[in-house]
């Protein structure tokens, strides 16, 4: 439908501010979830008749549960600091894609129903009733935010539009107007164990195939074990790693690292998914329920360490939320969490990112590389938003930037940085994160990728960059799709562990 025809933006300066183009993206919205999909995860099948009261009531509940929402709806002064920071605004010019304007879609209703000023003088303070049109705006524009938090870096009060978007989507779900892509995937996780709906036997088959391929390539017996009780490490990775290109090359990289270091590890058929779309729809119960599968798998398999593969939002959930949601972490004194924390080895960070594991092994001299194996590549690194702005690696702030770069430099000779206005905490979203990686939103995804594509073009022309490494399954899938729109080769994007895989010495390490 909406994805019919559009023009790919010209690539110039990544930060060039477009003139306002009101309603430029008012035709962009995802498919609504069907009744079956919604009911499977406990939401009303379709838009409920009394949606207005229900929506306002749900907003009232969220205001009691989330300090972020309450403070952020109050604190904004409309200063405009965020207005030129969103990749979707830079790529589309639609003013409702300015973070503050996106927030105001919800803030105006909050003011009308929950503040004296908005009840008494609605026009004065920009308060409005929740009309059908306003609800439609929520559905459109809360599904044009990838929850990447770039705006929150620049807001003088730290207002995070992701928190507002999540609340907006949660309210929409509560009245039966959720989006198909995320809700369908959440249903699959509960039913089958991963976002792609890959059942246990198929997963076992796939992994066996991977073992055979690696054997053919390297001659080494690198294992990709499934459901092995007593393994030291449980690896939780995005299910795209099991078969999508280029994701699978990183999976092979993880396997080779464990093999070379002699660490026993396993995947789990119960928790064969690192992704957690409960985050995207802002629903705490779903977020928790999906994360609990990992806890159960860890308890059943008796593992000592939990390691997470290359996936941006999954690492946010794992690093920032797992301890809260499931007790995977440290420092608990309640029985629920202590049960698991006793089992996990306290000498290691729980959970750990695969990049932390690999970098630690490199520093200890446990891995050796033939860097020349990557010499055909001039590599740059795309910081994934959730890793950059919502998590950490290692012991010091900013480790999430240094560690992946350190790994790349340890396994390859040619590395180039993109413009500093587009990396680290200022990184631009790939354009497909936050539950928007669906084909009916293709125009949004292509246009939202514009700032990153502009920065990539710069280093491609200046330094001959021909490979952009990243550590996120969504980034990989999104770039594979949109790179050709900007006349880049789709094979330009790949994982950090894909580079590790190419250069690591296995078998002859002793």
């Amino acid at each position: 439908m909406a994805a019919a025809e559009f023009t790919t933006p010209e690539l110039g300066d990544f930060s060039a501010i477009p003139p306002l183009a009101p309603d430029a993206m008012s035709g962009s919205k995802p498919y609504p979830a069907s009744g079956k999909i919604n009911e499977a995860i406990g939401f009303p099948a379709e838009l409920v008749p009394d949606w207005e009261q229900k929506a306002v009531a749900r907003l009232g509940e969220l205001l009691k549960q989330y300090r972020s929402l309450k403070v952020y709806l109050d604190a904004c002064v409309h200063c405009g600091a965020c207005t030129d920071k969103c990749h979707y605004f830079l790529g589309t010019g639609d003013p409702k894609n300015m973070p503050v304007a996106r927030q105001d879609l919800l803030r105006s209703v909050y003011r009308r129903h929950f503040t004296p000023a908005g009840k008494l003088f609605p026009q004065l303070v920009g308060a409005r009733d929740l009309t059908r049109e306003a609800l439609e705006d929520w559905y459109k524009y809360y599904n044009q935010c990838s929850e990447c938090r770039r705006c929150s870096v620049f807001c003088p009060y730290g207002i995070d539009t992701a928190e507002i978007t999540m609340a907006g989507r949660e309210i929409l779900d509560a009245v039966g107007y959720g989006q198909k892509y995320s809700n369908e995937i959440i249903g699959k996780v509960h039913k089958i164990g991963n976002n792609l709906g890959l059942p246990g036997p198929a997963l076992a088959d796939t992994l066996q195939g991977v073992e055979e391929d690696v054997k053919e390539d390297t001659g080494a017996d690198v294992r990709f074990p499934l459901d092995v009780k007593g393994a030291e490490v449980l690896l939780i990775t995005p299910s795209a790693d099991f078969f999508a290109e280029p994701h699978i090359d990183s999976l092979i990289g993880y396997g080779k690292v464990f093999h070379a270091a002699g660490i026993s590890w396993t995947l789990s058929s119960k928790a064969s998914e690192a992704g957690n779309f409960g985050l995207f729809i802002g629903n705490y119960e779903q977020l928790r329920k999906i994360a609990l599968r990992v806890r159960e798998a860890a308890l059943e398999l008796g593992v000592k360490r939990i390691v997470v593969g290359e996936c941006g939002h999954a690492w946010r959930v794992a690093y920032s939320f797992w301890n809260t949601l499931t007790g995977i972490g440290a420092g608990a004194d309640d029985p629920f969490a202590v049960q698991l924390q006793r089992q996990l080895d306290p000498r290691y960070k729980q959970p750990a990112h695969i990049c932390e594991v690999t970098w630690d092994l490199i520093q200890r001299g446990a891995l050796r590389f033939d860097k020349e194996a990557n010499d055909q590549r001039v590599i740059t690194f795309h910081d994934s938003c959730n890793v950059a702005r919502a998590s950490r690696m290692g012991d010091a702030p900013g480790g999430q930037f240094e560690i992946p770069r350190n790994i790349i430099k340890a396994v390859a000779n040619k590395y180039v940085e993109m413009d500093p206005g587009t990396t680290r905490e200022a990184t631009f979203c790939c354009g497909g994160g936050g539950g928007l990686l669906t084909d009916e939103l293709l125009e949004l995804r292509v246009k939202g990728a514009m700032p990153r594509m502009a920065a990539l073009k710069q280093v491609a022309e200046q330094d001959g960059v021909n490979f952009m490494a990243t550590i996120c399954a969504i980034c990989k899938a999104q770039f594979t799709k949109v790179l050709p729109y900007y006349k880049f080769d789709r094979g330009m994007v790949g994982g950090v562990h894909q580079l590790v895989s190419a250069a690591i010495r296995i078998g002859s390490n002793d």
Binding site: Q65, V71, A75, D104, T115, R149, G158, T324, P397, Q400
Partner: protein, 240 residues
């Protein structure tokens, strides 16, 4: 008029303190169920204190965003602080030595404050994006602050008022002992607008001042793997 202003200021003070108090208690009581600091973030409580201090005093994030906006913002808020310090002389007897020391700075700050406001207001007209997001109340808030500044400077440079009597009036208010307020139109306007500002503070975007200190993306330490963070309502889920 003296009685009117006395009652107005008592009412304004009650609304300001109670309204703000209720808001702050509400912020304190509402849990932040998840760890959401915008990273890279400090990993210790001390680091968080420093981050908050930089945000509150230097507007660190705004500096990263937009230099013009930061310059106008820091000019206005810094000047406002000096002006407020200068005005402490109306509420203290004897005047604290550092308030006396700050008097000349406070005077020039009055102009700096207006310059900052003019810059912020200009953006609302000149920058297309900011024009789009501005509501009538955004303009009125600037008008209110500019009115306070202009009427204040007017009393200093155009038509003086009897500031000794003004001081006696406010010291009297603080002791519940009504003293006459000089009859002066500029003073009436100044005081009326100040009272209005106090009254609307707890109901408006002026809540950005306390809001900053309750912003989870700024005031949380980045330590989720080391410490378990659990909101009371989330802990309930574990018991079911």
């Amino acid at each position: 008029m003296s009685l009117f202003f006395a009652l107005l200021f008592y009412a304004a003070a009650v609304i300001f303190i109670a309204g703000l108090g209720i808001k702050i208690v509400d912020y304190v009581r509402t849990p932040a169920p998840l760890k959401i600091p915008t990273t890279p973030a400090p990993i210790s409580a001390g680091g968080v204190w420093l981050r908050m201090l930089r945000e509150a005093m230097l507007f660190e994030s705004l500096f990263k965003s937009n230099l013009w906006l930061w310059a106008f913002g820091i000019l206005f808020h810094g000047a406002l602080l000096l002006v407020l310090i200068r005005h402490l002389r109306y509420f203290t007897e004897p005047v604290w030595f550092w308030v006396g020391w700050a008097q000349p700075f406070g005077l020039y700050a009055g102009f700096a404050m207006l310059a900052g406001l003019a810059g912020l207001w200009g953006r609302r007209f000149l920058v297309e994006r900011v024009r789009y997001i501005s509501t009538p109340s955004d303009h009125l808030m600037l008008a209110l602050l500019a009115g306070i500044g202009l009427s204040g400077l007017g009393m200093k440079f155009i038509a003086h008022t009897d500031i000794v009597a003004v001081k006696a009036f406010f010291l009297g208010l603080m002791r519940f002992d009504l003293q006459p307020l000089p009859s002066h139109p500029g003073l009436y306007v100044h005081l009326l607008l100040v009272a209005l500002l106090l009254i609307i503070f707890p109901f408006s975007k002026l809540l950005h001042a306390p809001g900053l200190f309750f912003s989870p993306t700024r005031n949380q330490a980045d330590d989720p793997r080391e410490k378990r963070h659990l909101a009371p309502w989330a802990a309930e889920l574990e018991r079911s």
